[in-house]
Amino acid sequence: MVLFWVALLAVSILVYLLLDGFDLGVGMLFGLTRSNADRDTMLSTVAPVWDGNETWLVVAGVILWGAFPLVYSTLLSAFYLPVVVMLLGLILRGVAFEFRHRATSPSRWIWDLSFVGGSLVASFMQGVTVGALVQGLKFTDGVYAGGVFGWLSPFSILCGIGLCLGYALLGACWLVQKCHSEVRDAARRQIPVLATAVLAFLIIVFVHALIENLPIMHRWLDRPYLFVFPAIGAVAAAVLASSILHHNDRWPFFAVAVIFSASFGTLALSFWPYMIPFAITIDEAAAPHASLAFMFWGEGLFVFPLMLLYAAMGYRVFGGKVETKPGQH
């Protein structure tokens, strides 16, 4: 039962990373173009699905709360400011979808700005929290003792920038898949730059982990099979490079999605069996059986597949490339 909920939590987080990842990425790339028509096109590739994408964050949040209340309460309270700022970023970008459409042209810049800024801030804060987790939070007797800024370090900031780059890469691949003409061509030019930056980031992180001798590195020496994931990532990177060279519109997104999944898998398995590295394990955090079973027999077994079904329905209804004429709200 505990394993089931760990697996479902991992799946939900991964789905969130991939789905909200691309729409947050589109949000950041949105700031790089000046053309209003291009912006309309970019927005229309994510407008019908962003709400569902963001819901996966809430899904992961409530699974964490219901199945692992100790981790939910510890993480959110330890990451007080990053979580608050991330939520505010998500609010500002979320309302921009509707508000931008309702605003008259002189005030549209407000929502353009809130869309870009909100996406950037939310992505950055998510990266920062992951970075801080990898680096390790300070605990005394199982209680967080790192203070208000315990999450802040050069490494966590680096991870924040890294995740922004990663989401932007995912977003660019999404645009290539969903758009025609200028928007696609611009995104296609951004992909090599972003991919190189992400690669550089991964190398820096790796070197940093080596130099700092982060505890997480020992897991790697203990578990050589973990290197399967970077290998998968490398293959996906090759696919990405080749599909860009051959001007294929479909494959880049899936290649980057695989890279993301491989990185996520690497991280998740190197944490195992800890949920908060080297402080709280999965078994310590698990809710009583009565809670897990109640969730399992209803939402786990029946509602979760349904959720996947109607999330997929959304992508099916809005499948294919978007029209490149503006104002199709």
């Binding site: 309270s77 605003a103 809670s291 969730m295 109607y310």
Partner: protein, 467 residues
Amino acid sequence: MDATALLLSRIQFGFTISFHIIFPAFTIGLAAWLTVLEAMHLRTGRPVYQALFEFWLKIFGVAFGMGVVSGVVMGFEFGTNWSVLSKMSGPIQGPLLSYETFTAFMLEASFFGVLIFGRKRVPPWFYLFSTAMVSLGTTLSAFWIMVNNSWMQVPVGYLLQNGYFVPDDWTRIIFNSIVWSRFPHMLLAAYLTGAFCVAATGAWYVLRGDGYAETRVMLRMGLFLAALLLPVQLVFGHLVGDYVHDYQPAKFAAIEGRWHDEQPASEVLIGLPDAATASNKYEVKVPILGSIIGSMSLSSKEVGLNDFPPQDRPPVLIPFLTFRIMVGCGLVMLAVAWLGSYLSIRRRLRRNRFMLWTIFLSFPLPFIAILTGWYVAEVGRQPWVIYGLLRTADAVTPFLTAPAAMTSLVLFGGVYLFIFSFGTFYIYRLLRAGPTRLTVEPLRGASPNRPMSLAEPELAEPATAGE
């Protein structure tokens, strides 16, 4: 524990949740109304229903967006500010709220996309289905929230083990009588909010001289629905009062402004409770009525606040006043809905400008009633966050500092004020513009007070093109 951080956290939670509830209160009713409109359009084929649907969908879109983003905050605020609560009650509250997310949010989110962008991409029956699914999602969401809150008000079916509230009997947690009086109370409140907003919009259009069929449908459907639902709402309100009387006597005494035990008890209609002297100033009392309301008896003994030690008493003034405001709003709404419906049936409403103004100006009443109703429930249960088991003061994140809490409060306040101002402004502008007319369907016996072309030039010529 930092006392300032506790206070700031309470203010922040109260502020963010009050802000949030405004939008679901509006969109739950609106989603149901949209489903009805779309179904009637499919059945009758009358363009008036489609015009109304398209019009209210735009407003729904703006309000729903604000509801979603402010709702995401709530799901995380339990962990950030109330980590002791979320840890201890996680085994019960976590699964309940996860059911909300699983059954409601993904349903709403996926079909909301179809609703806004998918009209031309899906067959009509599927579009109606999507509307119904969004409506179902909003209702399910309200249901789980009420289950969760009711458990915090009257915790049942749990065991306390190693500092955790462990679920012992889920059927009691979900299917107890308290949930089944509070959930309908909230749902009816949301429908009434929708009904009043729709009727008020109709009244506004008539007042400015707009005599189209859309206006009549809005006025009539809104008023009739409210007229039917309000008496039912009063019954459920009474049932909610019964559970408070039986399970939360201190809250009940605070609402009643009753300081000492009384037998038979009188009912304080108005007054100003003063905690320092443990008495009411300027009070107007009706003898025996208190016993009738509390226990349906002429001679029952009713409990006063002095029976409870001071540290277990809720603040009296807020529940006392907000309860009276809520009931007052309900009674005024009842009068407006019945009188308006009566005049509408007698075909006298459109010439009665005073009544139209009254209906128009009554749109804030359901919102005020919902907010004050929640203040009665939430302030009245203090000092407990889980009634009788966990104090609010013990539930706050122990290491939260006042500066951190202040920072988040200021940030939330600023951002919410910003988006609320623009959101209301955009909704106002959509309402002012009115529905796009798909065909001319003039009203029988309409006698606008002034030529429409003067009042609202852009509405003078119905757009036949449209969709």
